[in-house]
Subunit: 183 residues, 2 copies
Amino acid sequence: MTLTPLQQEFVLHFGEMGSRWGINRTVGQIYALLFLSREPLNAETITDALGISRSNTSMGLKELQSWNLVRLKHFPGDRRDYFTTPDDLWEIVRTLVAERKKREIDPTLTKLRELEMQGPAGDDYAEARISELRELIEMMTGFYAEMEKLETERLVKLMTLGSRIAGLIDRTGGMIPSLTKRK
Amino acid sequence: MTLTPLQQEFVLHFGEMGSRWGINRTVGQIYALLFLSREPLNAETITDALGISRSNTSMGLKELQSWNLVRLKHFPGDRRDYFTTPDDLWEIVRTLVAERKKREIDPTLTKLRELEMQGPAGDDYAEARISELRELIEMMTGFYAEMEKLETERLVKLMTLGSRIAGLIDRTGGMIPSLTKRK
DNA sequence: CAGAGATTTCAGAAATTTCTGAAATTTAGG
DNA sequence: CCTAAATTTCAGAAATTTCTGAAATCTCTG
């Protein structure tokens, strides 16, 4: 399988960006390739399209599976695994956000609660700072949980609503939460 | 400067998490330390609180400054630089989001537009996929731009509103955007 | 249940990133 | 200007991550 110049450039870009996101170049490239392919691809095809080793492909696919970012397909009379990305981009975004939350936010939230549990450590400022941070993260993850429940159509509406949001908030009248001390 | 056990644990956690976020351990630790300190700290103090080399501290602080995540303070009769984090956690979050967008999203958006400009490449599926992705990212960054305009108080209201959002959307009646093909 | 095809594992090689110490540069007073 | 304090730069060392090839494992099918 030879890549078109378009595919080539897209794949290389995602490879480079990969490192800014917490994934490595190969994983980024594999995902980009799958993303642009109408038909599912097997490991062998990916391997020579990207010019990497077979084992590297295997590890990359495993990584993508652990992120729930690829789907597995099979064809009759062929026992190799074929991989695709979901058709629905929103599904991809949802998965990405959920996984990043799980890896980047949740462990910290747990740790903060743990630290608060350990009781007064005689450092008032640090303690206040930590619980303020915990509260903020809880508020944000709570909001995220609500967003997660919305089906795509409503979410799209919400996003395109844009400028009307400020008005909406006022019209709804919001409880004034304790968090808003500063600014 | 010796760290309390609370500070110690917090700092180490942020060091470890650092790698999941796109920053390195030292940078994470420095930020964590500053975050918990009421008073601004100078490079020397940071260096020995964390047990790292002076030059490493210098690089870490430079990195944090490039992220706009620290503020510089000076004291009369002392020409060393002292560093703090903003008091307002929301400001920190805003900065963080803005910088990550700049580094992780914007370059990709630019690249996608570039690829579309290059005109038909005879790969309909890939082309469609790319512009669908570009549209989605534009919608999300557009929404983000609106959110960015909201002052903290309204943002907090919006977040605590939570479950009422679905209703709000309906009451506002939203244009049905083309993007909602699937799901 | 033998064997061929497919995938995974894994130890070490290669590449990249992070960190250090020494030297260079900057800056404010004297 | 000169000096000394503070900071930055930078080449190489150390650590970490990524990638490979070979061997091991798994899994269908005849």
